[in-house]
């Protein structure tokens, strides 16, 4: 697959603060790439650099192999769906969608035609003459998408486009957006802080924190093989326990030695152990590697969520079977479900650079 956009050693400082620290990333044609991270991690800044609304302090930005760093936004072959949409309040729905076409001096009849096509695509036929401010959040969002797509950009940048919508609408729009992307064959660069959204929609996820990309991979990779405790914790819930790597395939944590599948660490290296709550198995008292008391049970619909204290550590455990609070149970974790991580870099290090 050809590389469409490439970010090379991008650095961005705002006054004294380094908000992007050496970002390297490429985006393939027709890819759905998501920049995922907590607020303030630099994901929106990255997107704005691609869109041309911020100039990086250092590094280069390539489009089809050529630098577009000095191309102003209105000459870049990409369009943006803004956070909270940024629709033109002085124009109605049709005028908003037609804006880009009018700028390109497209003739009236084809503008009309294309606007109609777009309205069909985003399910807003009949809304042409409505004022954009009279629309609901979901409808405004569709107008924003239609406005950005009507010029047939090669790349669509989306900055938390579903952030302002309620849960049900979000889910629907996730599916719709993904369908649109596949239908139109356009490259999407999508920014969100919602890990579930990222997992559902993306081909590739880049997890960011404190101005750096921590891991790039498919949703499955990122979920199943997180490379750091931060990624593991950010993508889904996790039990993160300090431990020590005794030797290859043997690790000690929570006061017990476990078998695992990881290797290549130094002897007695301190590590972080990550175990997904759904990977913790509850057994009888005697069969468990650890024994603990159930402190708390919450019904979550599909499963029960429990807090089990094994002395020294409280485990988050998800199971379809309920163990009543106060009962003493055993727990085990299969070797391939124990994820051993290098101690993650302390937060301070990034700022010190």
């Amino acid at each position: 697959m050809p590389r469409l956009i490439e970010l090379v050693n991008i650095v961005k400082d705002f006054s004294q603060n380094r908000v992007l620290d050496n970002i390297n990333l490429y985006i393939n044609q027709n890819e759905f790439l998501t920049l995922l991270g907590p607020s303030g991690c630099g994901k929106t800044t990255t997107l704005r650099i691609i869109g041309g609304f911020e100039q990086p302090t250092g590094g280069d930005l390539l489009f089809n192999g050529e630098s577009i760093l000095h191309t102003p936004p209105h000459k870049r072959q990409l369009n943006t769906v803004f956070q909270r949409y940024a629709l033109f309040p002085n124009m109605n729905v049709a005028e908003n969608i037609a804006f880009g076409l009018k700028i390109k001096k497209v003739d009236r009849t084809s503008i009309k035609e294309k606007v109609q096509d777009m309205l069909k695509l985003v399910n807003l036929v009949g809304f042409e003459n409505r004022s954009v401010t009279s629309l609901s959040g979901g409808q405004q969002q569709r107008v924003a998408i239609a406005r950005a797509l009507v010029c047939k950009p090669e790349v669509l940048l989306l900055d938390e486009p579903l952030g302002a919508l309620d849960l049900k609408l979000r889910k629907e729009m996730q599916v719709e957006l993904k369908n649109m992307q596949q239908q139109l064959g356009i490259t999407f660069v999508y920014v969100t802080h919602d890990q579930e959204e990222a997992l559902t929609m993306s081909d590739t996820i880049a997890v960011m924190n404190e101005g750096r990309i921590l891991q790039i991979g498919t949703p499955e990779d990122i979920y199943n093989e997180p490379k750091s405790a931060f990624v593991a914790n950010f993508i889904g819930e996790s039990n993160i326990i300090p431990g020590t790597m005794l030797e290859d395939r043997r690790v000690s944590f929570a006061g017990t030695v476990f078998e695992c599948v990881d290797k290549g660490f130094e002897e007695d290296e301190p590590v972080d152990i990550v175990v997904r709550p759904e990977d913790v198995r509850i057994t009888s008292k005697d069969a468990g590697a650890l024994v603990g008391e159930v402190k708390h049970v919450t019904f979550k619909g599909v499963h029960y969520e429990m807090r089990i204290n094994t002395g020294g550590f409280t485990w988050k455990v998800q199971s379809t079977v309920q163990s009543p609070a106060g009962s003493i149970v055993g727990i085990t974790v299969a070797p391939d479900l124990i994820h051993v991580m290098q101690k993650s870099a302390p937060v301070r290090e990034v700022n010190a650079l």
């Binding site: 869109g51 041309g52 609304f53 102003p72 936004p73 209105h74 000459k75 870049r76 990409l78 369009n79 943006t80 803004f82 956070q83 909270r84 940024a86 629709l87 033109f88 309040p89 002085n90 124009m91 109605n92 804006f99 880009g100 700028i103 390109k104 409505r130 004022s131 954009v132 401010t133 009279s134 406005r147 950005a148 010029c151």
Partner: protein, 287 residues
Amino acid sequence: MRRLFTYPYIVWLAIFVIAPLLLVFFYAFSGTDADGYTYFTFQNINKFFEGIIEGQPFFQRIYVRVATRSLRMALQTTVICFLLGYPLAHILASKGFRDKPILLFLFIMPMWMNFLVRTYGWMTILERNGIMNNLLRRMNLPTIDILFTDSAVLLGMVYNFLPFMVLPIYTALTKMDKRIIEAAQDLGASPRSVFLRVVFPLSMPGVVSGITMVFMPAAATFIIPNLLGGGQFFLLGNLVEQQFLLVGNWHFGSAVAVVMIVLMLVSTFILSRFDRQTEASEGGMRL
């Protein structure tokens, strides 16, 4: 509690806001006969439109000319203030200057000085033997004698009212969502089309309130023409002052005031229509 808070205020409004205006209308539409009796009449209003000398064409009648002159001066002031003020507001609101509040501060500060004093300052500059002409003379250039002319009055009005044009436009421009401008750029609009299609239309409410804040007081001022125009320079405001304080004819003075009120209402109405057009789309949210 509601009554306790509101009723005294309604009485206050009735006595101090409505009653004085009713008095103006009462005097405008009445006369006093030789025996001191008051009667209803249109003669004061008629006098305004008919003037003193009979048989003159409408626009040459003395008071009509005062009115058209006032409106013309106010209109010129407004246009000049807009032409000077919009670029200024745009610069003040633009990237490099927005984070320098000191500039806005510098610009507003003269406004806080008594306007009589500032107008007097212009007299000093524009006088026949004033600073400007002294400088011109020293450079062997011809002197300009503009004090006590239309130009001087216009200059004084623009000087006094310019900030009232700049501030609302500045506010409208800074309030504008930066992302809307980015969205326009993103969709391919050059800086010029961004301005013409998005920024200017969205700043219209500021422009309209700027026009209101310049036109109305400019049409009614009497102190600037009085100082910079000399005694003979006559606008509607001067006419009112003269009738009340020099001639002592409350009936005719009130009639002139009524004409001013009507002119004010008409221009407010016209401007509000402009405002509604631009606000229509924004106002739709409340539907």
